[in-house]
Symmetry: C2
Subunit: 428 residues, 2 copies
């Protein structure tokens, strides 16, 4: 490769970053460095299945450097980017500093409590594998604690699960807990009847799944209720602690609370001095570049793209994927002397699943639900999952649990690995 | 069930406890409570494969209550037993106290540093899923750090892996790191050559694998060397820190140190006032009962069984499995008015594997190695793995990685799940 090769730095190995890298892979005149805090790309649409003990973390994640191993012009670094010097065109990470010719910021989003960060301790969000494992630990531990307990009100508290937020993630979590308590765990306990678990889905707005049509959202509500989930709309949470949540004047005693109520773009975007929207997303140009910095692009959950639209593009995997590819193609065009093209989103529709064999699908004007929708959901998710191996194994897990309701990953894993902790060093 | 049903309490859901429970399951006149700190039975012989990113934790573990769900006379409790009142015949756990007619202690063993507990921080042992995940994190992080690094001596330290202890676990870990660096990771890095990783297996005694014949141990040494592992015998570790180990006068710079040098029986045994051996194992009668307490049995890694033998039975899965079953059968015999029978171990031989297609097998006088031994190892481990589902998935993973050298679980997972930690609560 010539020394004149343009250096493209990609921050983030999610859908946007990874797909940009794939387009730029093995292209002459370009060298790419992809930086991510994690060593793995995570297929976030299936993360709730890890939290719900249906899949193992490794089945929906793959090492970024392995995915890109054959692209010899791409270097992958595991590092945390702490800042960008736009004037000097350098990216500053904890262990290194990298100059760039083109920069793609695709750092994604994190869950957010909008001023109530202290709630995280009581109600974990679902954005990383660690959080999924924490949620799994809490849900399974609640059933174990209920089985051990002899006081009825304590048992009831352990068997109450509150999910805050009625978007797709909240719906999927609530449906999965309903299914787990009704089917998977039904034979496993002696002192409790897991079928009596109370699952409450709280939504502050007037209805769940606001991005879907009213008819489909109603269908999803009925499917959830069939799994024992109480759906409560117009119910904003006003307080919480380890033992429950406050909804207006009502107190709900619950030892498990899950947060699916809000996300915010990664913090790095707010340090650039660029205009951001109320979710912290950077407002981008029609070609996804930063205003007055055409060499910097922003994609995925970190970008606020409004051109030719009434509302910004939502934080969906297909949006990130298409944006990553579009940016990479524009970089190639520019290097080869062609003008850039504006980004156009090809709407792939949206899906949400409720339990084992129900889903809702909305693709343009096409709207359907039930088993066929669930099959669609299944095929789409298998298709986009990264890595042939993961596809094979996840398909097998699903076929397996479809027929016997089992969940292959019902493990409660501790956070601490040490046996000899400082405070019990003298233990015999 | 009549009120006169005898209550059998089993502490520990490992090979001994689980197999005892299975024999006692659905037997009239008996009710069983199995207590374990964890919610899962762990197939320890394959734990090194989780540490080496070849398998996921859920593939070698299964929820105890699910395994025993069809035994309606068995209650499973997740709780930590803190003591036994032999006089009052009660088991004391953190959340409950249980009277028993028969007690089976099968708490297993933990790794031990024999007076150097401060070494745990530098060199994790391999007994739990949490430790396996920690080892995986350290090994994969070492390669990432080497790739980031630009100083040659620092790179060399990151690419040096020291395994302390030349028993089967140490040999399996060293072989797996050798294979990973030579094959799995070979294409994935740009700044380092993972094939140049130094892997050093330190053994204090005169040779590795002392429980095997000298010829097979020699064969294993050559197989390890073919994978790039340096085997150093008569090399006791005298000190260690975050950056390396001291072996006599020599200092080995290494950022990854793994401990496979010793185990000790679970602490509970030492609180009973019974005679224990130097590994903390309780010396048991010929029927595996506690001397002068015929209603209390000890099995597996926690028992020191010497009857009719020159050395105590080793801490192997078949020993624990047979002991658990024998104890359960003696309890049934006694309840039905028949005398107890002494325990006889049927030697199932021993196996160890080195890398992807080599192993050594010793069954009585039958000794062999190479590919056939590896096939034997494979069939035996699949056969004893708990749960049909796990058998199917592990077989598939192995077939898969046999042909393409991949490892399906190369995930570095953090310990902390929270984003809003107390010290960065004001982060934007």
């Amino acid at each position: 490769m010539a020394t004149a090769a343009k250096h493209v730095v990609i921050v983030g190995g999610g859908f946007a970053g990874l797909n940009a890298a794939k387009v730029l892979g093995n292209q002459a005149a370009i060298r790419v460095t992809l930086i991510d805090r994690r060593n793995h790309h995570l297929f976030q649409p299936l993360l709730y299945q890890v939290a719900m003990a249906a899949l193992s973390p490794a089945e929906i994640a793959a090492p970024i450097r392995h995915i890109l191993a054959r692209c010899r012009n791409i270097t992958v670094l595991q590092d945390e980017v702490t800042g960008v010097d736009l004037a000097a065109r350098t990216v500053i990470a904890r262990n290194t500093t990298l100059p760039y010719d083109y920069l793609l910021l695709a750092c994604g989003a994190r869950h957010a409590y909008f001023g109530h960060e202290e709630w995280e301790e009581f109600a974990p969000g679902l954005k990383t594998i660690e959080q999924a494992t924490e949620i799994r630990r809490r849900v399974l531990n609640a059933f174990e604690a209920a089985e051990r307990s002899t006081a009825p009100e304590e048992q009831c508290r352990h068997l109450t699960f509150v999910i805050v937020g009625g978007g797709p993630t909240g719906v999927e979590l609530a449906g999965a807990i309903g299914e787990m308590s009704r089917y998977t765990l039904a034979q496993d306990f002696r002192n409790i009847n897991s079928r009596l678990a109370r699952i409450i889905l709280l939504e502050a707005g007037p209805r769940i799944l606001p991005s879907f049509s009213e008819r489909l959202a109603g269908k999803a509500t009925r499917d959830l209720e069939a799994l024992g989930v109480q759906v409560r709309t117009a119910s904003p949470v006003t307080g919480m602690d380890h033992d429950g949540v406050q909804v207006g004047r009502e107190r709900l005693e619950a030892s498990t609370i899950l947060w699916a109520a809000g996300v915010q773009a990664a913090g790095l975007g707010q340090t650039l001095g660029a205009k951001t929207d109320r979710l912290g997303r950077i407002v981008v140009e029609a070609d996804l570049s930063l205003p007055s910095h055409p060499e910097v692009f922003v994609a995925g959950d970190q970008a606020c793209f409004t051109h030719g639209r009434t509302a910004p593009l939502p934080g969906l995997a297909p949006v990130a994927l298409q944006q990553g590819r579009a940016i990479a193609r524009n970089i190639l065009r520019e290097i080869n002397g062609f003008p850039r093209q504006p980004f156009h989103y090809r709407d792939k529709g949206q899906l949400a699943t409720i339990g084992r064999s129900k889903a809702i699908v909305e693709i343009g004007r096409l709207r359907f639900d039930g088993f066929l929708a669930w099959l669609t959901w299944l095929v789409v998710h298998i298709y986009y999952l990264i890595g042939f191996e993961n596809r094979v194994f996840v398909t097998m897990r699903w076929v397996w649990s479809f027929f016997n309701f089992r969940r292959g990953a019902r493990l409660i894993v501790d956070k601490e690995w040490r046996f000899y902790r400082p405070n019990n060093r003298n233990r015999p």
